[in-house]
C-alpha cells in the first residue's frame, strides 16, 4: 500500500519549482476572409501561471475548449506562447533552436491518443531507440538494447524481450500508452506533461496506467502535469489541481480541498456534474450534493462560449448564477484563500487587480 498522502511532507519542504508558466497567453489568428474586417483570432489561453515541482503532480482540469491542451503544448515547446514566459530551473528560456532541443531533454509530452502517437511502420525498438540515440544515452547497439529492455520493464511490459520487436498494431491500447510513456522516459526527463493519458483507454486499464505514472513520479521524483476532464481522477492522481474555464484559470490549490470544497461557481458546477453514486445512495455524507448551480444552468446553456469573441471580463459570467455587473467588465484578480488555495472570482474578493 503506497500512501497517496505524502502531501504534508512535501509541501513543508517548499521545494523550488522545476518548471514554471508565467502569464502565458496564446492567441491563434484565424485566416481572414474579409480583408476589410478586423483580424479575428481564437483567444485560447489567457494569463496562465502555475508551477511544477519535482515528485509532485499537478492536475489541469476543465472541459474541452478550456485551453488545457494548449497550455501543455506551450510547455512542451510545440506552440510558442503569444506572451508570457516559461521558466525552467529558475531561468527564463526561449523555446527555439538549440535551446529547445536541450529543453526537450528535460521536458517530455505524453499525448492522449496512443493509436496516433506511435508510427505504425516502426516497431517498439525503433520508437524507443530514437530518443536514446538522439540524446546520446546509448552509444552502441548493446547499450541500446539493454536500455530499451529496462525501459520496457519500468513500464511493466514483460517479458520485455517479446515486446521489443512488436509493432503498434500488435499491441492493445494500454500497452501502446505504456510504450509512449517509455519513449518519454527514454530521454530521462525531469518533467512529464501528460495530456489526457488515459481517456482513450478502456476503463479497467486506466487505473493501471495511472498507477504506473504515480509510481514513476514517486520513484524518480518526476514533476508531472496531468491534464484531464475527469475531476475524480484529478483528485486521485494529483496533489494540486488547477481548474480552467474557457482559457482562464479560475481556481487552484490542493486537490482534495478544491474538489471537496469548491469555491468558484464553475468548479462547483464541474463537481456537481461529475458522476457520483454517493449522491443518490447516501451512505456517506456527500458534501457537494445539491448545489444551486445545477438547477440554474438549465436555462443558461451548458456549453463553453466561443473563444473567437469570448465574453468580456470573467468568461464564466453568462452561465454564472452569482454573476454581478462587475463580472462582465473585467476579470477578477487572484484571491488567496489560505492553505495554498486561490481563486479568480469577485465573490471572494478582487485580489490584486489585474
Amino acid at each position: 500500500m503506497i500512501s497517496l498522502d505524502k502531501q504534508a511532507a512535501i509541501t513543508e519542504t517548499t521545494a523550488r519549482p522545476i518548471l514554471e508558466a508565467q502569464h502565458l497567453r496564446k492567441i491563434f489568428p484565424l485566416r481572414n476572409l474579409n480583408f476589410l474586417g478586423a483580424q479575428q483570432s481564437v483567444h485560447a489561453v489567457e494569463d496562465t501561471s502555475f508551477a511544477l515541482y519535482p515528485g509532485r503532480a499537478t492536475a489541469l482540469v476543465g472541459e474541452s475548449g478550456s485551453g488545457k491542451t494548449t497550455v501543455a503544448r506551450m510547455l512542451g515547446g510545440l506552440y510558442s506562447p503569444t506572451s508570457g514566459s516559461i521558466r525552467f530551473r529558475d531561468a527564463a528560456i526561449k523555446l527555439t533552436g538549440e535551446q529547445l532541443r536541450k529543453y526537450r531533454r528535460h521536458v517530455q509530452l505524453i499525448l492522449q491518443d496512443p493509436f496516433s502517437s506511435l508510427n505504425p511502420v516502426h516497431d517498439v525498438r525503433y520508437h524507443l531507440s530514437r530518443p536514446l540515440r538522439i540524446f546520446n544515452h546509448a552509444r552502441n547497439n548493446e547499450q541500446e538494447t539493454q536500455q530499451i529492455l529496462s525501459l520496457l520493464n519500468r513500464v511493466n511490459l514483460s517479458p520485455a524481450e517479446q515486446f521489443i520487436q512488436k509493432y503498434p498494431h500488435q499491441l492493445s491500447g494500454g500497452q501502446r500508452q505504456r510504450i509512449a510513456i517509455a519513449r518519454a522516459l527514454a530521454v530521462q526527463p525531469e518533467v512529464l506533461l501528460a495530456d489526457e493519458p488515459v481517456s482513450m483507454l478502456d476503463v479497467s486499464i486506466r487505473l493501471d496506467v495511472l498507477n504506473l505514472l504515480l509510481r514513476l513520479k514517486d520513484e524518480e521524483r518526476l514533476a508531472l502535469l496531468f491534464i484531464t476532464h475527469d475531476i475524480a481522477s484529478a483528485r486521485y492522481f494529483a496533489e494540486d489541481t488547477v481548474v480552467m474555464y474557457a482559457g482562464q484559470m479560475v481556481e487552484g490549490g490542493p486537490s482534495d480541498e478544491v474538489i471537496q470544497r469548491p469555491m468558484h461557481p464553475y468548479t462547483r458546477l464541474l463537481v456537481s456534474a461529475a458522476p457520483d453514486p454517493d449522491r443518490i445512495n447516501p451512505e456517506k455524507n456527500a458534501s457537494v450534493s445539491d448545489l444551486p448551480v445545477r438547477r440554474e444552468i438549465g436555462s443558461r446553456g451548458a456549453e463553453i462560449p466561443s473563444l473567437i469573441n469570448p465574453p468580456t471580463g470573467c468568461r464564466f459570467h453568462p452561465r454564472c448564477p452569482h454573476a454581478m455587473a462587475v463580472c462582465s467588465q473585467r476579470f477578477p484578480g487572484r484571491t488567496e484563500l489560505g492553505n495554498g488555495r486561490w481563486t479568480h472570482c469577485f465573490l471572494y474578493g478582487d485580489g490584486e487587480t489585474s
Partner: protein, 409 residues
Amino acid sequence: METNEPVDGREGRPYNTAADPLLEVKNLNVDYLASSGTVHAVTDVSFTLRRGEILGLAGESGSGKSTLAYAITRLLRSPAVITGGEILYYPRADLAGDTSDVSITPLLRVGKRRRAKNGSSSYAELDLLQLSERQLRSLRWNEMAIVFQSAMNALNPVMRVGDQIMDVLRAHRPGMGHDSRQQRARELFELVGIAPDRLRSYAHELSGGMRQRAVIAIALALSPEVLIMDEPTTALDVVVQREILTEIMRLREKLDFSVIFITHDLSLLLELADNVAIMYAGRIVEMASRQDLHRHPRHPYSYGLLNSFPTLHGPRRKMSGIPGSPPDLRDVPPGCPFHVRCPLAFETCQTVLPVLQPVALPDVGTRFIASPGQLVACHLYDSRYRETPPTTNELAQAYEALAEGTTVA
C-alpha cells in the same frame, strides 16, 4: 429467470407498473462469423426489461453490450448472426382497443394473430426474432428507438434537423399532414429543451449537447416504449453529460418509456439506472439493482470495475483496477471466462462455467435485505464450492494482494 425483483429505492416514483415485463430476452446468442474463427459476442444472455425501467448495461469494450443492443433491435448485419434464443416483446395491453394513439396501430396488426393463439386478452407477446422485415419496420421507432453514441454521425449533415424529424413522421405516419408534422417537430424540440427555431439548423451548426438532444428528439418522435441508448454521453463534456442525463430522467418521468442504457462508465449507471447488468466476455456476470451493486458488488469483476473509478469523496487510497485484459472472444477460456484475471479464482473456476443465479446468503441478519434480485454468475457464491460467500472486504483485500504482487515486480 424471474427472480429479479423490481427496485423500490427510487423515491417519488411509484413502481405500479414495475411488475409488467416489456421486453424479455431469453438465452440469446450472437456470433460473428469470421474466417479467423467464430467470435461469440453474446452468449446465453437473459434478462427482463420492465415498463418504465432504466436498465444499465456495463462492461469493458468488447464485452458484447452494443452487439446485444443491436440484436434486440434486429439491426445486426452479417457477419453477425443470432444463433439462438428468444426476444419477447409485450405491447401495451391497454392500448389494444385505443386507436386514438396512433403509435400502436401498425404493430397491432402483427400482434393480433398471436393474440388469438395466446387466447388471453391481456398480453400478446411478439418474438422479435420471428418478425419479417415488414413487421420490423412497424416495430422500429414506433415501439423501439435507438440513440447512437456519436450524434454527429447519426445526423445527416446535408439535411436540416427539422426535416430529419419530419422524415421519420412522413415514413411512419402517412396520414399526417405537413402542418401537423411541423407542429410535432416543434413539440419534440421543446420537449428535449431546444428552441424550436433551431429546427432549421444543420447538424454542424449545433453544439455537441444540442446534437445529442436532437437525436433524442428524433428517437422520441413516435413515442416509443423502449429507448436504447448506446453510450449516448461518452463524447460529451461532463456538464453537458449531466444535462443530457437529467433530461433523460425527466423525459422518462413524463413519457414513461423504458431505457436500456449502455455505457462503460459504471459510476454513471449507479446514479441513473434502476437495475444494472454487468457483462463480461459476452455474458451477464452480475445483475442487480443499483443500490445493491453500489453497496455490495458480488462478482469479483463487478467489484473490480466499480473500483476502477476514482471517487469524489472519502479517503484517497490506492486503487488497483483489474489486472490483465479481456479475453479474445474467438477463444474464450474454459470455465469462468474471468478466472484468468480473477484474484479469487480456484480450480473449479477453470473448468466449470458458473451460471447466473440469485446470491444465496446464509447470514440471518441480511437474509431479507440481501435482495433476491441480485444475480451473480460466480462459484464463490455456490455453497457446493465455498461455505461462506466472500464479503466485499474480502474482494477488496484479494485485489490489493494481487496488485502488490504484480506491480512491485
